[in-house]
Each structure stands twice: as structure tokens, then as C-alpha cells.
């Protein structure tokens, strides 16, 4: 059953959303959290397993020091306190993709806690309180067979690959996010986007939402204006792009508002976000079967990071995102408005990377906020999941700089890149896109233009050189745009003797 939804404005006219976000980050360590298996994405099924991460009888975990280091760095970057002593705990529940039928996680003793961070939405800065960041392990992956389009419902059986089982995860949990109701969804998106940038800068994760190395669960409940009683909350899972964070939160607000307005009750449940249809559907209702029976993991000993180690790691942290943004804006000479567009467009990191490859800030911004942002918007992808990265942008811009392409043709090259037609060189070749630099071809076109426009030539000859622009236009048209306009002007001027 699809619940009816209210318009967002109507929903917010009656209710205030209460929101919390849980973000799972897969670390980019070489080996898993508790064993030496590799963590490569996309390896053939069950080729990255061992007795430990398969949960074979007798196997025992040993903590990956690098994962602890990354957890501490993340905690520090989120202004958290770092525990002087903490433990792992077992979270007991049965699920076929979890080899031991408990997840080794942290419970009441997280490694990092009580932090905060800031996000910027429409020029306003919002503070987000961080409850905790703790270490845990990922599960395997199930493929559901025999049902419709790989869904779990209606499947006849499932196939499980444990390559992902045991990859280190950091779960970052916010406290209740308190922002103006109308900003909630946008702040949620900005928060996840900011985390992505932060984690990328820390170098602790690939932070690829499309590959699941950054995953967001959104807890949403509503309370009537002025009420202090919290409503029943739902936990929406599977929110796997920045855009869908915003959409899913908005959807849950409007759905819950519709249920409450018609006198219904919100069930405490997990819900699943569907990117294609833009709705959430009911997953699993919370029940007394959710008694996870946490207890300290007896196969592991406590982690007690020395203060020296913590300070050493603090010294390696990159500058805070807000400081960095200010520095970059100054370096690039962008206006506040331009910078806001960059941030809101999630284009900061791609632009930084593109500039590092030798492109001017203006050109980098032009492509990322123009052609590429438009495509991302249309396809519903995040910018970093387009298949066109800083390297391609830099390559195309280089061709513009050396006169092989102009902006107009470059746009067609991007079109080809986005359609997966190959490298820029291949696309230029296939589509026949390069500027004509052959003088004789251009001269012929100039001759044709002169012959076809005697009135213009006369104007030029009568002392109005500006009129030559019309001839350039005619030549460019004749060349179907594949000519360097500056070159055309130069040749024409020579021809006309001006």
C-alpha cells in the first residue's frame, strides 16, 4: 500500500520534523576490520574471505590498527572526544549475510563521542551535534533470485557473497538535528555531502555512495508545532545519493504528515527508500525480536588509545572544511555567490581536483556547474557518479586551450563522455568534432562568405570594419562551428586587408 502524502508546505504547516542521521562509512584500509582479507570493490564472489570473515567455527578476530587510527581521525575531525578506553561489543541477531550472526560493533563505549560539525545551506551555517562515531564491521551481500528485479519479496532463494563481510565501518550518529523545519531536508543533504568531503580529505574512505562506501540512514519523526512529545520515528535505509537524502527526508515528512493528519499512527519500523519511484516502503517493524543482547566481545581486548597517539593523529588532520572553503574562495577569486553555487552543487571536490590538473578555476567551475551539473540533475546521479571525472574535464579543457576545440564543440565531447562513447580523443574522432585548422579549407569558406555577402564587404571597405563580424558568423556556420573563430577573424582580416 502506498501511503498518500501531503504537500511539504502543508506538512510543515502543522508539524515540525525531528531528524537524526546515521552514516556508515566503509574505510579504505587494505585489509578487513578483523582479518587480513583484501577489501577491493567488485572482486569475484567469495574470493576475499578467510575463516575469520566467513565466521568459520574456531576463527578469531584481531583488530586492524589502521581502522582504529581512521576512526580516531574521523572522531577528531568531527570535534569528538576520543575514548581513553573502549571495547567492542557483540550485537546479536540472525541474518544470513552476517557470518557469525552477531555483528562486532561498539555499544555503550564508542571510540569517539560528543562532537559537532557545521554545514552551510543557502549561505546559512548550521551546527550539527555528533552523538558518536563507532567502529564495526560490514555484512556480506545477498542477491535475491527468482523475484521481480532482485527484490527480496517474491524471491525463491538468495545467493550470498561474503567479500564485503568484515570490511571496517565507522558509524557516525548525529544527535537530533535542530534546524528550521523548512531547511531540514536540505541540511540533511548538506550534512552527508559535507561528510563526504571531510572523509575524502581525511583519506580514510573512498566515500563512493554509488559503491556503498558511504551509506545513510535517516531517522525521521514529526511532532505538532509547540509539542514537546516526540513522535514515533521511522528509520529510512538505502538512501544512496546526496539527492536522495534530501528527497527521502522530504518524502518521510510528507508521508508521516499524511498518516497523522488522517488520524493514523506511525509504526516504529525501518523503511526502504526507492530511488526510482521516490518513495519509501515499509521494511521491518521493530519488535521484541530486536533484543540485540549486546555484551562486550570476549574475543577482543579493550582499545585504549594513548593521548600521545591521539595528539599525533590530530596533528595530521587537514584544515577544517569551513577554513578550507574560505581559503579556496580567496585563491580562486570567486564571489560569495559563485562559491555558494559550487558548494550547493556539490562541486567543490571535483573542482579542486580539476584545478590540480592545471585547469583555471573559472574553466573548472564552468564545466562542473554547467554541462556536468545539468547532466547530473537530469539523470538523478550525484556529480561524482557521472563517469566523468576531473581527469576528463582537464583533458577536454586542454584541447580547448590549444585550439583543437572551442567551448561549443567541447560541450559535444562531454555529451559523448557522459554517454560512455570513449575517451575525448575517441569521441572527437568518432563524431568528427575537431576544429578545422587547415588554412586552405578556411580560406575557401572565407571566399564563399565574401562572394555571398557583397553588401557586407562593401560596408567593411567603406570604413566599418566591425561589420566583418557577420562574415565570421557566416564562415563559422559554413564550417558547422568546427573552426577556431579567432583564426577565422585573422584570416578574414588579412583577406580584406584590415
Amino acid at each position: 500500500m502506498t501511503a498518500a502524502v501531503l504537500e511539504i508546505d502543508d506538512a510543515l504547516a502543522t508539524y515540525d520534523p525531528v531528524m537524526g542521521l546515521e552514516v556508515h562509512v566503509e574505510l579504505n584500509t587494505k585489509s578487513k576490520m578483523f582479518c587480513g582479507c583484501p577489501t577491493e570493490f567488485g572482486a569475484p564472489p567469495n574470493t576475499q574471505t578467510c575463516p575469520v570473515c566467513l565466521g568459520l567455527p574456531g576463527a578469531l578476530p584481531v583488530v586492524n590498527a589502521k581502522a582504529v587510527e581512521s576512526a580516531i581521525k574521523i572522531g577528531l575531525a568531527l570535534n569528538c572526544e576520543i575514548a581513553e578506553w573502549c571495547r567492542f561489543a557483540r550485537k546479536n541477531y540472525f541474518y544470513p549475510d552476517m557470518p557469525k550472526n552477531f555483528q562486532t560493533s561498539q555499544y555503550d563505549e564508542p571510540i569517539a563521542f560528543n562532537g559537532w560539525t557545521e554545514v552551510v545551506v543557502d549561505g546559512e551555517t548550521y551546527r550539527i551535534e555528533i552523538e558518536r562515531a563507532h567502529m564495526e564491521e560490514d555484512t556480506g551481500k545477498s542477491t535475491h533470485v527468482g523475484g521481480a528485479t532482485g527484490r527480496i519479496h517474491g524471491a525463491s532463494h538468495s545467493l550470498v557473497d561474503y567479500n564485503r563481510a568484515g570490511i571496517p565501518l565507522i558509524e557516525i550518529v548525529t544527535k537530533t538535528i535542530e534546524v528550521p523545519p523548512a531547511k531540514a531536508a536540505a541540511v540533511a543533504r548538506a550534512y552527508v555531502s559535507m561528510l563526504r568531503d571531510l572523509l575524502f580529505a581525511l583519506g580514510v574512505s573512498d566515500v563512493r555512495m554509488d559503491q556503498g562506501s558511504l551509506r545513510c540512514d535517516a531517522n525521521v519523526s514529526l511532532k505538532p508545532h509547540g509539542s514537546t512529545v516526540l513522535g514515533t520515528r521511522t528509520e529510512t535505509k538505502n538512501v544512496n545519493s546526496f539527492r536522495s537524502v534530501e528527497r527521502a527526508v522530504t518524502y518521510e515528512i510528507t508521508r508521516q504528515a499524511a498518516v497523522l493528519s488522517s488520524g493514523g499512527k506511525i509504526l516504529q519500523e525501518t523503511r526502504h527508500w526507492h530511488e526510482d519511484t521516490g518513495i519509501t516502503t515499509s521494511g521491518r517493524e521493530k519488535s521484541d525480536a530486536d533484543d540485540y543482547r549486546y555484551f562486550p566481545e570476549p574475543d577482543l581486548v579493550p582499545v585504549a588509545p594513548s593521548r600521545e597517539w591521539v595528539e599525533e593523529l590530530r596533528a595530521t588532520l587537514p584544515e577544517a572544511p569551513s577554513v578550507r572553503r574560505a581559503r579556496l574562495q580567496e585563491d580562486w577569486g570567486f564571489t560569495d555567490l559563485e562559491m555558494r553555487d559550487v558548494i550547493n552543487g556539490n562541486a567543490l571536490e571535483p573542482i579542486v581536483a580539476t584545478i590540480e590538473l592545471g585547469v583555471t578555476p573559472a574553466a573548472a567551475k564552468k564545466w562542473w556547474l554547467g554541462e556536468l551539473a545539468r547532466s547530473a540533475n537530469e539523470s538523478g546521479h550525484d556529480l561524482d557518479a557521472l563517469g566523468v571525472g576531473p581527469a576528463e574535464v582537464a583533458e577536454v579543457q586542454k584541447l580547448v586551450d590549444d585550439g583543437t576545440l572551442n567551448d561549443k564543440i567541447a560541450r559535444q565531447v562531454f555529451e559523448g563522455l557522459l554517454a560512455g562513447e570513449g575517451t575525448p580523443a575517441e569521441i572527437i574522432e568518432k563524431r568528427g568534432l575537431a576544429l578545422v585548422s587547415d588554412d586552405s579549407a578556411l580560406l575557401e569558406a572565407i571566399d564563399r562568405a565574401i562572394a555571398a555577402n557583397p553588401d557586407v564587404v562593401e560596408k567593411v571597405n567603406s570604413g566599418k570594419p566591425a561589420a566583418a563580424g557577420a562574415l565570421i558568423g557566416a564562415v563559422m556556420k559554413d564550417m558547422r562551428g568546427q573552426a577556431d573563430a579567432a583564426k577565422v577573424r585573422q584570416l578574414l582580416n588579412e583577406k580584406l586587408g584590415i
Partner: protein, 98 residues
């Protein structure tokens, strides 16, 4: 008043994923009641300010370097599987999403 009822035992069996028969429940509930009475004696010990012990020596920070070691081959990994397909563990349909 027993320290644990038949219904509670049935609930625990569901949590522990064991499909106990009625006979087993009849038999197990009174036995567990006895055992729980025995183990309940721990509550007689005043230990509020006593830290818990879990290891003979108080070890901390046992960690390994982030290095790869050889994995099992997929054949080894799947060697004990009740059913396998496409180099994956084949399991019956899963009722609920995680």
C-alpha cells in the same frame, strides 16, 4: 512463582532460532527455573563498586598491521556449504530485509 515461565522460554527459543517442540518446552521450563534459581545467587554478592573481569591479564590494544594475508580459495570457502550457486552460498528465501 517460577523464575521463568514456559512462555518466556518459548520467546527465548524464538530469539535463539530454535524450533523447540511442546514436549521440550514442558521439560525445559522447570529445569531452567531450577538453574536460574541457582545462578541467581550471584545477586547476593555485594559488588556494586567492583570492576568486571574478563581476562587473566588486563591486556589492551592488541592490534595487527593493516596487511593482506592469503584468502581461502572460493572452493575452500564454499566447501562446507549446504548449497552453492554461481560461486555464492545458496540460502533459502529471506523473509525480511535487514
Amino acid at each position: 512463582m517460577p523464575s521463568i515461565t514456559r512462555e518466556e522460554v518459548a520467546h527465548l527459543a524464538r530469539l535463539a532460532r530454535i524450533e523447540l517442540s511442546d514436549d521440550e518446552l514442558d521439560h525445559l521450563a522447570p529445569q531452567l527455573d531450577q538453574i536460574i534459581t541457582l545462578v541467581g545467587q550471584v545477586s547476593q554478592v555485594a559488588a556494586d563498586d567492583i570492576p568486571p573481569t574478563s581476562h587473566a591479564l588486563p591486556l589492551t590494544n592488541v592490534m595487527r598491521a593493516d596487511e593482506n594475508v592469503p584468502c581461502l580459495t572460493p572452493e575452500q570457502a564454499l566447501s562446507g556449504a549446504p548449497a552453492a550457486e554461481e560461486q555464492r552460498f545458496r540460502v533459502p528465501r529471506i523473509l525480511e530485509e535487514d
